[in-house]
């Protein structure tokens, strides 16, 4: 983020090396980027250090108070641990659900592969609000699953599947499967059937072949998919907000509540910076893990 923040001041020196026609072609995009990305990120970082009076009025005083408040509040640690546990948990379940899909797509005959590939990524084109609503319909107390279970007499009273952590898990895993499957498929290029045949001819059974041959070869795809899903999971907002029913507290939902409902922008900005730091740590961990598999 520091390189982004220094961009405008660095411009005169590197501008000299660019032909005019190139500058003109880049100008509209640079303007959009400046107004809706560089300035907002700089302003967010600044406001996270600004003192606010009651009612969200900003002052001119710079302070560390917002961060001190964050780290001295027990609730903040609950938010961080909730977000991290959800992030890791959802990533793990998504991986377990997506791996068979990706392996199937890798092995299926080409004429089926294209159709199934489109079906796998098509949920990405459907609004996350619509998909989350679908889960509210399926999991609600009067919803489809409880409706079927009670009408067939398997259960007497509806099971609570939504407005709790379970509902958030189910919804988020479903929302993230296409991303994970795409990453896995991209990393499955190295998986060739001859390696498995070689392992089999040397006497390895199905499980050993999976553990010793398939899994190591597909590890780069797994690492990439896990990074993507973890990052998307800890920053996702729509699904936890709607399926959590206001009972699941995460960093992302807290940012929204602080900014839009309580109008405490400096606190919201400080919480955002914490999320960005967790992002940076996840990225650093990924690059270390990815290096080991190369």
């Amino acid at each position: 983020m520091s390189s982004v923040a220094t961009a405008p001041s660095a411009s005169p020196s590197w501008l000299r090396g660019i032909p005019l026609v190139v500058v003109l072609m880049l100008l509209p995009m640079a303007a959009i980027n400046l107004i809706a990305f560089v300035l907002p990120v700089v302003r967010l970082a600044m406001i996270s250090f600004i003192k606010s009076r009651s009612g969200g009025v900003l002052t001119d005083t710079y302070t560390l108070e917002n961060y001190v408040d964050f780290f001295t509040d027990r609730f903040s640690f609950e938010l961080i641990s909730n977000s991290l546990v959800l992030g890791f948990g959802v990533t793990l379940v998504t991986l377990v659900c997506s791996y068979p899909i990706a392996l199937f797509l890798h092995r299926v005959s080409p004429q089926w592969r294209n159709l199934l590939f489109v079906i796998t990524v098509s949920p990405l084109l459907v609004s996350s609000v619509v998909r989350t609503y679908g889960w509210m319909v399926l999991l609600g107390d009067q919803g489809v699953i409880n409706g079927i279970l009670t009408s067939t007499g398997i259960i007497q009273t509806p099971i609570r599947l939504v407005n709790n952590l379970l509902g958030v898990y189910i919804g988020m895993v479903e929302v993230l499967i296409p991303y994970m499957a795409l990453s896995l498929i991209a990393g499955f290029g190295r998986l060739d059937i001859v390696y498995e045949e070689a392992a089999a001819s040397l006497g390895a059974n199905g499980w050993t072949r999976f553990r010793r041959v398939i899994l190591p070869l597909t590890m780069p795809g797994i690492a990439l998919g896990c990074l993507l899903c973890f990052v998307l999971a800890i920053s996702s907002f729509i699904t936890p907000k709607l399926l959590g029913g206001g009972r699941v507290f995460l960093l992302a939902t807290e940012i929204y509540d602080q900014a839009v409902i309580q109008l405490e922008w400096p606190s919201a900005a400080a919480t955002s910076v914490i999320v960005l730091i967790i992002f940076g740590l996840a990225l650093a961990l990924y690059s270390r893990v990815a290096k080991r598999f190369d």
């Binding site: 090396g17 032909p19 026609v21 190139v22 072609m25 509209p28 995009m29 303007a31 980027n33 107004i35 809706a36 990305f37 907002p40 967010l44 068979p100 899909i101 199937f104 092995r107 299926v108 079906i119 796998t120 098509s122 949920p123 084109l125 459907v126 609004s127 996350s128 609000v129 619509v130 998909r131 989350t132 609503y133 679908g134 509210m136 319909v137 399926l138 609600g140 009067q142 919803g143 489809v144 409706g147 919804g171 479903e174 499967i177 296409p178 498995e196 089999a200 920053s235 996702s236 729509i238 907000k241 709607l242 992302a252 940012i255 929204y256 900014a259 839009v260 922008w265 999320v275 960005l276």
Partner: protein
């Protein structure tokens, strides 16, 4: 035997696909419920909630707002993104990698953080709850994809093709119209379609910057879902999914067509 797919494995994959598609498929039967509340199975069937949807002023207004914004964002995004991608692909200049990284960096930022950051700037610039504010905010979401797609499209078009046309005596405008444009068409269509869908579906950033008088459709649906559980949202969802399928189908047809045109 090796690499073969056993029946249990096929059943497992079928179940996973059912899980993946369940929330999209379930809204279809429920949208034809005539009940006042969401119940399953519905007590009565009919088109009541489709009628309610078309008579809901807020929803219809938001639909027109979203369509207008998505169209504007698509056009402006191509006008800004295509020249930028062309400059990055075809010209050598200092800081090229930095510019590319800067233009695609918004992809990496979580939208909840980006939404708040844009709110903080827009509140000073008096862009909150305005049409232009929403367009600018959506552009930062769509243009990284436009640039990525067009970079790939330009790299599949070697300069030598255009040079050959010029050497055979074609004036620059003819080269552009007869050579460059047809070869770029799939990239344009893919960028335009993705921009339109991304802008039309964008919800997190919009939640931060919409006002009471200027609301996009996903924000309107989000608020409706949060407060009410009746089958109207199912009807809205069915219309949205059908519209998305229609757009994908149309692109598939036109992209296929443009490919055959390009070959002949």
């Amino acid at each position: 035997m090796i690499g073969r797919m056993t029946l249990p494995f096929r059943i497992l994959v079928a179940c996973l696909y059912l899980f993946l598609l369940a929330p999209i498929l379930i809204v279809l039967p429920l949208s034809f419920s005539n009940d006042t509340f969401l119940t399953f199975p519905p007590q009565s069937w009919g088109l009541r909630w489709y009628a309610a949807m078309f008579n809901h002023r807020g929803l219809i207004d938001a639909l027109w707002t979203s369509l207008g914004i998505a169209t504007t964002v698509t056009i402006l995004g191509l006008l800004a993104g295509v020249p930028a991608a062309f400059a990055i692909r075809r010209h050598e200049f200092t800081g090229r990698d930095f510019i590319l990284n800067l233009f695609t960096a918004p992809l990496l930022l979580p939208s909840i953080v980006l939404g708040l950051a844009i709110l903080l700037v827009f509140v000073q610039a008096r862009l909150l709850g305005t049409y232009s504010g929403l367009v600018i905010a959506h552009l930062i979401v769509t243009t990284p994809y436009v640039i990525r797609i067009m970079l790939t499209a330009f790299s599949t078009l070697p300069p030598s093709v255009e040079e050959a046309a010029t050497m055979l005596g074609a004036p620059p405008l003819t080269v552009f119209r007869r050579v460059t444009l047809p070869l770029m068409m799939p990239g344009f269509i893919a960028s335009a379609a993705l921009s339109f869908l991304l802008s039309f579906d964008e919800v997190v950033i919009s939640l931060f910057i919409t006002g009471p008088r200027m609301r996009t459709l996903p924000v309107e649906i989000f608020d409706y879902v949060e407060s009410t559980t009746d089958p109207m949202t199912a009807a809205v969802s069915v219309v949205l999914v059908a519209a998305t399928l229609l757009i994908i189908f149309l692109i598939e047809r036109t992209l296929g067509l443009s490919k055959t045109v390009g070959k002949s």
